[in-house]
C-alpha cells in the first residue's frame, strides 16, 4: 500500500496557465447521470457488503430500480428542457437489462462512459487480469450497444485498486487507440482538469466530477434538505462562474435517477438547472468534450507549468 497514489504532483490553484473554453466561455457545465443496475443477489465480496440485510434486501434494491422505472424519464425530460446532454456513468449490464433506456440516450447523443458492469460488483479483491477483463467487457459493451469509444471511467461503486486508472487507459488504447480511455472521474483533488501520471505515459486527465454536488452524497450521506441542495448547486455555480473570469472552471452535477428524480426533489433540481443555464458564459457540454478540449489546448501547458513549479520548489 502507498501513502500517495502518485497520480499527480502538488499544483496550486492560483497562477496556472489561463483556460478559456470554446467561444470564450468561462465555465464548462456538465451533468453526469449515473444509470446503474444493482443486483438483488450479487456474489459476496469479502471486502464490502452489497446490502445490509440478508437476501432479498428489497428496500435498497427497490429504490434503485425506481430510478430506472420511474426516475430516468423525469430527469431526461428536465435535461431536454434545459438543453443538457447527459454524460452517463453507466453500469454497462444495463445495456442488456434495460435497452430502452440506452436507446433514449442514444437518440439524444448523450455520452456513455464506463461505471463497471454492475454497481454491486466491487473492484476489491480482483486480480489485475480480472480487473482488466472487467474494464474491457464494460467498454466492449458500450461499443456494441452505442458505437461509442468509451472515453471516461468512474469505478463501480467508487471501488478501486492501485492499478484502476492504468488499466482503464491501457484497455482504451488497445481497443480503440488514444482517443478512448482518456479521462477519469474518480479523483476529487481539483476544480480544473489535471494531467494524470500513468505507467503508460498516455495523455490522460482527471475531470472534476464533484463529490459534494453528487445528489446521493448530498441526500443520503449528508441528509441535505432538497431546497438546500438546490441552493448548494446555485452557490457552487456562482463561485465557479465568478472564478471563471480568471481562468475557465468546470461544474459537474453527478446525479442518480433514484435520488434527484423523486417527486419532492424535482423542483430544487429544476430551479438550479434553470439558473445555471440562464447565464451567458456557460459551455453546456459533456465530460468527453471537456477532456478532449483540455487535452488538445491546455494539457501541454499544464505539464510545463507543473514541472516548472516543482523545479522552483526544489
Amino acid at each position: 500500500m502507498k501513502a500517495d497514489p502518485g497520480f499527480y504532483d502538488y499544483w496550486p490553484y492560483q497562477d496556472r496557465p489561463k483556460i478559456r473554453w470554446p467561444d470564450g466561455k468561462k465555465l464548462a457545465f456538465w451533468v453526469a447521470p449515473n444509470i446503474e443496475f444493482y443486483e438483488l443477489n450479487p456474489p459476496e465480496n469479502p471486502h464490502r457488503k452489497a446490502w445490509p440485510q440478508p437476501y432479498p434486501a428489497i428496500q435498497g434494491y427497490g429504490i434503485r430500480d425506481y430510478g430506472n422505472r420511474v426516475g430516468h424519464q423525469r430527469q431526461m425530460d428536465l435535461l431536454d428542457k434545459y438543453g443538457v446532454r447527459g454524460s452517463i456513468s453507466l453500469s454497462t449490464a444495463l445495456c442488456e437489462h434495460h435497452p430502452e433506456i440506452i436507446q433514449m440516450c442514444k437518440e439524444r447523443d448523450w455520452e456513455f462512459f464506463s461505471h463497471g458492469i454492475y454497481n454491486t460488483r466491487y473492484t476489491y479483491g480482483l486480480s489485475e487480469q480480472q480487473e482488466r477483463d472487467m474494464i474491457r467487457d464494460s467498454m466492449e459493451t458500450i461499443y456494441r450497444h452505442t458505437n461509442q469509444h468509451c472515453a471516461g471511467y468512474l469505478a463501480p461503486a467508487l471501488s478501486h485498486s492501485e492499478l484502476t486508472l492504468d488499466l482503464f487507459a491501457e484497455v482504451g488504447t488497445e481497443m480503440f487507440g488514444n482517443n478512448a480511455g482518456f479521462y477519469t472521474c474518480d479523483l476529487f483533488h481539483d476544480d480544473q482538469p489535471t494531467p494524470i501520471k500513468l505507467r503508460s505515459d498516455k495523455r490522460f486527465v482527471s475531470i472534476p466530477y464533484s463529490l459534494e454536488m453528487n445528489d446521493t452524497i448530498a441526500y443520503v450521506v449528508n441528509k441535505v434538505e432538497p431546497r438546500r441542495y438546490g441552493q448548494m448547486l446555485k452557490d457552487n455555480f456562482d463561485r465557479l462562474y465568478q472564478e471563471g473570469e480568471e481562468s475557465g472552471t468546470i461544474m459537474c452535477i453527478p446525479t442518480h435517477n433514484y435520488q434527484v428524480a423523486c417527486p419532492h426533489r424535482m423542483k430544487a433540481f429544476e430551479e438550479a438547472l434553470d439558473y445555471i443555464t440562464s447565464h451567458p458564459d456557460v459551455w453546456v457540454t459533456t465530460g468527453r468534450e471537456i477532456a478532449d478540449y483540455y487535452r488538445e489546448h491546455y494539457y501541454d501547458a499544464a505539464l510545463a507549468d507543473i514541472s516548472a513549479k516543482l523545479g522552483a520548489n526544489k
Binding site: E39, N45, P54, I58, Y61, I101, Q130, D133, E225, H264
Partner: protein
C-alpha cells in the same frame, strides 16, 4: 464476455445479465410507457394516507436486524418503548382530528399484536369504518431471508387471520414490519388472501407481481415522516415543503401522463407530537384545496386494476 463459458465462482460470472430484471418477482416496465390511468371524477391525483399503528416489544430480539424506530438502549429501553406507545395513546388522536377536519381518508396499517392488546383501538377503527391493512405481527417480527418458510407461513397466517377476526374486515393489504421480506413472502401473502403489498419502493404506481393475484402498491419511504424527520433530521417546515413540492410535481406529471398517487406514510408517535401536529395540519389543509381523490389503499388499487383489465383485454 457473456458468450464465453465462465467459471461460476469467478467474480466476473454474470448468470442473470439478460433483458429485464435479475429475478422473477415482477416484470421490467418504465412508468412513462404505461397506459394513462383515470381516477374517479377525473381527479389527477389520488392520495393515500397510511397511518401506522405499531407495537414495539420491550424485549426486542432484533433478528436479523433492529427495526428502525425500535429499541436501541440496553434492556429495558423504557424511553423508546414508551415513546412508541405514546403514538397509540395520544398522538393518534391528534392525527385523527386533523384528518377529519380536512376530510382526508386514512388507511390504517396495524400490527396484529397491537390490535389484540388494545380492544379500544379496534373498536374505534371499526366504528370509523376505514380500511385496515395488516402490518405484520409486531415491529420485532421481521420477515427475512434467513427465516424458515414454515415459520413465516405461520406468522403471516396468524397475523392476517387474527386481524380479520378482530376487525371483521377482509384485510387484503399488507405492509411488512421494516418493509423487509424473505424470498417466500409474496407467495405466502397470496396464499393468505392478500391482494396487495406495499413493501416495495420501486414505483409510483401499482403494478402486478408475477405471483398470481398480488399487486404492489406504492408507498414512498422518501416522503415518510419518520424518514424525513427521524432519519434525515430535516426540519418540520422542510417536511411540509417536500410534501408540497411532491404534490405539485405529481399534479404536473399527471396532467401529461395520467393519474398519479401521492402516498403519505405517517407514524403517530412521531407526527402526533404537540410541536409537529400543526405541520401535518398545514399539509392536509393545502392538500384539501388541490384536485385530489382521497381514498383508501384498496379503493385506489381497485380503480387502477379495473382499468388494467380493460387495457389487457
Amino acid at each position: 464476455m457473456t458468450d464465453k463459458v465462465m467459471d461460476p465462482n469467478s467474480p466476473l460470472h454474470y448468470p442473470l445479465r439478460q433483458y429485464g430484471m435479475d429475478h422473477d418477482l415482477y416484470n421490467w416496465s418504465m412508468l412513462s410507457n404505461r397506459a394513462k390511468v383515470q381516477w374517479p371524477n377525473n381527479k389527477p391525483l389520488a392520495v393515500w394516507v397510511n397511518i401506522n399503528l405499531e407495537f414495539f416489544p420491550l424485549n426486542q430480539k432484533g433478528v436479523p436486524f433492529k427495526v428502525p424506530g425500535g429499541m436501541t438502549m440496553p434492556y429495558p429501553d423504557l424511553r423508546h418503548y414508551s415513546l412508541r406507545d405514546y403514538g397509540n395513546r395520544v398522538g393518534l388522536f391528534r392525527i385523527l382530528k386533523a384528518l377529519d377536519k380536512f376530510d382526508i381518508t386514512p388507511t390504517f396499517a396495524v400490527n396484529t399484536e397491537l390490535a389484540l392488546r388494545t380492544p379500544y383501538l379496534v373498536q374505534l377503527l371499526k366504528s370509523r369504518g376505514n380500511e385496515v391493512l395488516c402490518h405484520g405481527w409486531n415491529m420485532d417480527s421481521l420477515h427475512h431471508g434467513k427465516m424458515d418458510r414454515a415459520d413465516e407461513s405461520e406468522l403471516i397466517s396468524r397475523s392476517v387471520n387474527q386481524l380479520r377476526d378482530l376487525t371483521d374486515q377482509a384485510i387484503t393489504g399488507w405492509l411488512s414490519p421494516a418493509r423487509n421480506q424473505s424470498q417466500n413472502t409474496l407467495v405466502l401473502l397470496a396464499e393468505n388472501g392478500i391482494h396487495y403489498c406495499a413493501d416495495w419502493v420501486n414505483d409510483d404506481m401499482p403494478y402486478r407481481f408475477k405471483q398470481d393475484g398480488l399487486w404492489a402498491m406504492p408507498l414512498s419511504t422518501e416522503l415518510e415522516d419518520f424518514y424525513i424527520l427521524g432519519n434525515n433530521l430535516h426540519s418540520e417546515a422542510s417536511y411540509v415543503e417536500q410534501i408540497n413540492d411532491a404534490c405539485d410535481f405529481l399534479l404536473q406529471e399527471a396532467a401529461a401522463q395520467g393519474g398519479r398517487i401521492l402516498t403519505l406514510n405517517i407514524h403517530p408517535w412521531l407526527l402526533g407530537q404537540p410541536h409537529r401536529i400543526q405541520y401535518f395540519e398545514q399539509i392536509l389543509s393545502r392538500l384539501s384545496q388541490q384536485p385530489i381523490w382521497s381514498a383508501s389503499a384498496s379503493d385506489i388499487l381497485q380503480a387502477f386494476a379495473v382499468q388494467q383489465a380493460t387495457v389487457t383485454a
